[in-house]
């Protein structure tokens, strides 16, 4: 888990002694207005506000416009822009190097739901310790506008014709494969993106955030499900969400009245406060999670918010009874059995 310190004040440096600038990355090379850019900005803010030490974070991505994002935040963190669809396996291995590091992965809908479906699913069932952001635009941006697996049936794109295949619902997939933290958001709703990112950072295990992130160049027609305007018109937040760090007294934001809120405690004592909107929603119940997703598919709602959370499932790192020192700092004395053992071994070889 990333080392977190109490929430940053309004001051110029946060409790990690860093300015917001220290959380930035290189200038974006994505299109102006691309949803991915606003998500990268929220990663910067969330990390800053959470007082995360960038050196305690490792960034991962696959290939795509979305997968370029890790270059646009947390310049002081190690990063790996890997292969198309293969971020999960690479991250899984890398995180064993030092399990005190927090992983943050950024992927695309093509990267995770098309070519990467297998690795995506298996990372869910392993409960790998990482935040897994999918910048979902229903299209392949970097290869110039083909259907991804999340494109809606009937979507029409230049050169591609009409999409014929049922879309993949990333949140439903994550839940079906037993992910322990599943959320959906919308790049056009930066506040929610930020709070969800904070909660995801605090989660131990896999935290999937499926963020609808419009591709302004290839799939932003008003009637496209992954466009800004469709998102704005159809967003149906489940709740208003605020993340409260562990050591803070729970002071509800002003607009959160007692009684209208539900609080979910995280493994480290931090908590997520959910303000009820239209109806009550319980994100700790897998059954209602599946239910709300099925309903939103049927009714074309863009349901956003924390869809499912189980804060107490053992994370991948818990399943291996590892020594306290980071594995990658062990030296020969702990890695090579002593010379005295070799005779014993030979004697076992009939």
């Amino acid at each position: 888990m990333a080392q977190t310190l109490p929430m940053a004040e309004a001051a110029q440096t946060n409790l990690a002694g860093l300015t917001k600038n220290d959380y930035k990355g290189l200038p974006s090379t994505l299109c102006q207005g691309c949803g991915h850019n606003s998500i990268a900005a929220q990663v910067v803010t969330a990390a800053y506000e959470m007082n995360i030490v960038p050196q305690n974070v490792v960034k991962f991505s696959g290939i795509g416009c979305s997968s370029k994002s890790p270059t646009y935040f947390l310049n002081r963190s190690f990063g790996f822009n890997s292969l198309h669809g293969r971020m999960p396996s690479l991250a899984t291995g890398a995180l064993f190097g030092d399990i005190t590091l927090k992983g943050i992965g950024v992927s695309g809908d093509g990267d995770s739901a098309s070519i990467g479906m297998g690795q995506f699913k298996h990372t869910m069932r392993r409960n790998t310790n990482m935040v897994y952001i999918i910048e979902n635009n229903g299209v392949y941006g970097l290869t110039k506008g083909q259907f991804s697996a999340t494109a809606e049936v009937g979507l029409t794109l230049k050169k591609q014709g009409v999409n014929q295949y049922m879309p993949i619902d990333i949140c439903m997939e994550a839940i079906a494969s037993n992910a322990s933290f599943v959320a959906r958001s919308f790049a056009g709703d930066p506040k929610q993106v930020k709070e969800l990112l904070k909660a995801a950072f605090a989660h131990k295990g896999i935290a999937v955030i499926d963020i609808i992130s419009p591709c302004v160049t290839f799939n932003n027609q008003d009637n496209a499900y992954h466009s800004y305007s469709w998102g704005k018109d159809h967003e149906a937040p489940l709740h208003e969400i605020s993340f409260i760090p562990a050591r803070d007294e729970i002071m509800l934001p002003d607009e959160f009245e007692e009684g209208s809120v539900r609080e979910v405690e995280m493994h480290d004592g931090s908590s997520i406060v959910l303000k009820k909107l239209e109806k009550e929603y319980d994100p700790t119940n897998r059954y209602s999670a599946l239910n709300i997703l099925e309903q939103s598919q049927e009714n074309n709602w863009l349901v956003t918010g924390l869809i499912y959370l189980n804060p107490s499932k053992p994370a991948l790192s818990d399943k291996y009874n590892l020594v306290d020192t980071a594995l990658n700092r062990l030296d020969e004395s702990s890695l090579r059995p002593g010379p005295e053992t070799i005779n014993e071994i030979n004697s076992l070889m009939f």
Binding site: V58, P70, L83, N346
Partner: protein
């Protein structure tokens, strides 16, 4: 009964897969080994779990030749399905044992035939629980063979005791049947064949192991920290042995693990995890075979280009495609060296004995971390899954080489700006940091796309070209870290053989036989690594004609030599074939002679 034939013949046992004959067969093997007789055992099993014909070949060789032979002096038929075929296969002068419930074989004047009343002996042996009868039946031929050919019963007991980890009840159950069968044979069979075992002193100080176990143990002594794997015959047991021995050898005093083994969902993920782990500074490895190696192609290209150490064991089975999962080959060499689109090179290590499997287990990590590149260890099914006698495993003779890795302290001391892909030392190998290094200058961004010496993205033509040429230069540097070829001089001959891996056993025998039968002499070189040492060139240059003997269709080692030493092309003759069987000297001789007569 004429001249006795001592410690120099083969026993082939035909059984059904999954019928539990493995214990019996390795009991014979181990008993002979304990009698001091050089011996080898090869399991020819089908790609299924239960019920299909399976053979086990035991060769005893007083001269220490332990490759497969084509001759089948003693054949034991325990499987009705292969009964006729087994009968027909007995070499003239040989012996045929069979379970008498299969009926009577046709007449054959040129061999000795002994029926075995398996059911009767089992029935009469007291105490065999009825549910174990089928399995225990196999001890019948152990007992009979021991009586008829002189396998010592106390050595059989030692072998059984090893197999059952000292569990007395199981040992006795089996031993009693063997003894009963031996007694039956003593009473009922009259020995008329010439084949006998006699104690020798030729296995002293040696051990018995298979290559997968040796590789696993070697890797543990190499400090393996991460294993990502996916089951595939014949590589599975390498990972399973890691699971078995890591907890024994590599737990910290408080019982915690200094390693993690993850069974991945497939080979794409297995290699991905390993590369991730290698990137973050762990000694990481996977084991696979052809189809899995093919799936790893894209990722290995990434590791090559992003310069990430990782060790891949390819326990080769015969391909292309799914091929024969339970048959051996050396057919993956070309692919291993060049795998991936674009210009690539990979370091390949090829062990040529079981204790070298152990050695390359640890050494491969040193090389991978030193050169910062994937290292592919090419073992094969014959090594990987068969029991071989071998020199004992040697404790590593050099400390771990973690290569050019920088931690916080190192960065503090650094005068110049550190660049991940900067060739500071002129050997092509840059310095690296790994995640978890908290120094403010440590972090960098890794990618499989074009990058400059400071790991910044670049599409500049000269940056690309210089970087890729530098990477190529690492493989020149690599030579001094790689195991040298082994030369076995056999006189001042002008002709020589180059071979690799497990094939060397049949080639040694080839050399001996051709000297004995034809008076021809061949020097022998066994290649242990690619890129080739300069001594390979010297060796070829020093001979007039060099035969490259290998187990694949296309002569892949020969092709690698051609590409590297085109000026010596005229001296090289390819002797290559591959049919899934471990090579035999007689086939190699006939293939060589075909080429010579051309």
């Amino acid at each position: 009964m004429g001249q006795l034939i001592k410690n120099d013949f083969s026993i082939i046992v035909g059984t059904a897969n999954g019928s539990g004959s493995q214990t019996s067969n390795s009991t014979i093997l181990r008993a002979l080994f304990k009698m001091g007789i050089p011996v080898s055992g090869k399991n020819l099993f089908p790609s299924n779990i239960q019920g299909l014909p399976t053979w086990y070949i035991i060769r005893a060789s007083k001269d220490g030749f332990i490759a497969r032979r084509e001759e089948r002096e003693i054949v034991v038929a325990m499987n009705k399905k292969s009964f006729e075929k087994d009968f027909a296969s007995v070499t003239t002068g040989g012996v045929f044992y069979y379970d008498d419930s299969f009926g009577t074989p046709p007449a054959r004047e040129d061999i000795t035939i002994y029926p075995m009343p398996v059911k009767q002996i089992i029935r009469e042996a007291s105490d065999v629980p009825s549910n174990l009868r089928d399995m225990i039946s196999n001890m019948v031929y152990v007992g009979i063979l021991s009586q008829m050919h002189g396998i010592e019963m106390d050595k059989i007991e030692t072998a059984l005791s090893f197999a059952f980890k000292g569990k007395r009840k199981a040992i006795d159950l089996n031993l009693d049947v063997a003894k009963a069968a031996a007694a039956w044979a003593a009473a009922n069979l009259q020995k008329v064949d010439p084949y006998v075992f006699e104690p020798m002193d030729k296995t002293h100080g040696l051990i018995m192991s298979d290559g997968n176990l040796a590789g696993a143990l070697g890797s543990i002594y190499g400090g393996v920290q991460f294993v990502g794997w996916y089951p595939i015959t014949p590589a599975t047991s390498l990972a399973e042995e890691l699971n078995e021995y890591l907890p024994k050898l590599r737990q910290s005093p408080d019982g915690k693990a200094t390693y993690a083994v993850v069974q991945a969902e497939d080979e794409l993920a297995a290699i991905g995890m390993c590369i991730g782990a290698g990137w973050s500074g762990l000694r990481s490895m996977t084991s696979t075979s052809g189809p899995g190696l093919s799936l790893m192609t894209e990722f290995v290209g990434l590791a090559y280009y992003a310069e990430i150490p990782v060790v891949i064991w390819d326990v080769t089975r015969i391909g292309p495609s799914t091929g024969l999962p339970t048959r051996t080959s050396q057919g993956d060499l070309n692919f291993a060296v060049n795998m991936g689109h674009g210009d690539t090179d990979n370091i390949v290590l090829i062990p040529g004995s079981i204790n070298e499997c152990f050695e390359f287990g640890w050494r491969s990590f040193d090389i991978a971390e030193r050169i910062q590149t994937p290292v592919i260890v090419l073992s094969d099914l014959d090594f990987g899954m068969n029991q071989w006698m071998t020199e004992p495993f040697l404790y590593p003779d050099s400390p771990m080489d973690r290569g050019k890795i920088l931690w916080e302290d190192d960065l503090d001391k650094l005068k110049e700006t550190w660049g991940r892909y900067l060739d500071v030392d002129g050997d092509g190998i840059p310095y690296r940091t790994v995640p978890g290094n908290r120094h403010p200058a440590a972090a960098y961004f890794t990618r499989g796309t074009g990058h400059d010496p400071f790991a910044k993205y670049s599409e500049e033509p000269d940056v690309w070209e210089e970087n890729l040429n530098r990477i190529k230069s690492k493989f020149i540097t690599a030579k001094k870290y790689l195991p040298e070829p082994i030369i076995e001089k056999n006189g001042s001959s002008k002709e020589a053989i180059i071979t690799l891996g497990s094939t060397v056993y049949a080639v040694r025998e080839t050399v001996a036989l051709r000297k004995q039968n034809e008076g021809k002499e061949f020097d022998l070189m066994r290649i242990r690594a690619i890129p080739f040492s300069d001594s390979v060139r010297d060796f070829i240059a020093a001979h007039e004609k060099v035969y490259i003997v290998e187990m694949n269709r296309d002569g892949q080692l020969y092709e690698e030599l051609l590409v590297n030493m085109p000026d010596l092309a005229g001296k090289l003759v390819s002797v290559a074939y591959s049919d899934g069987m471990p090579p035999s000297a007689s086939r190699i001789i006939s293939e060589m002679q075909k080429k010579e007569s051309k």
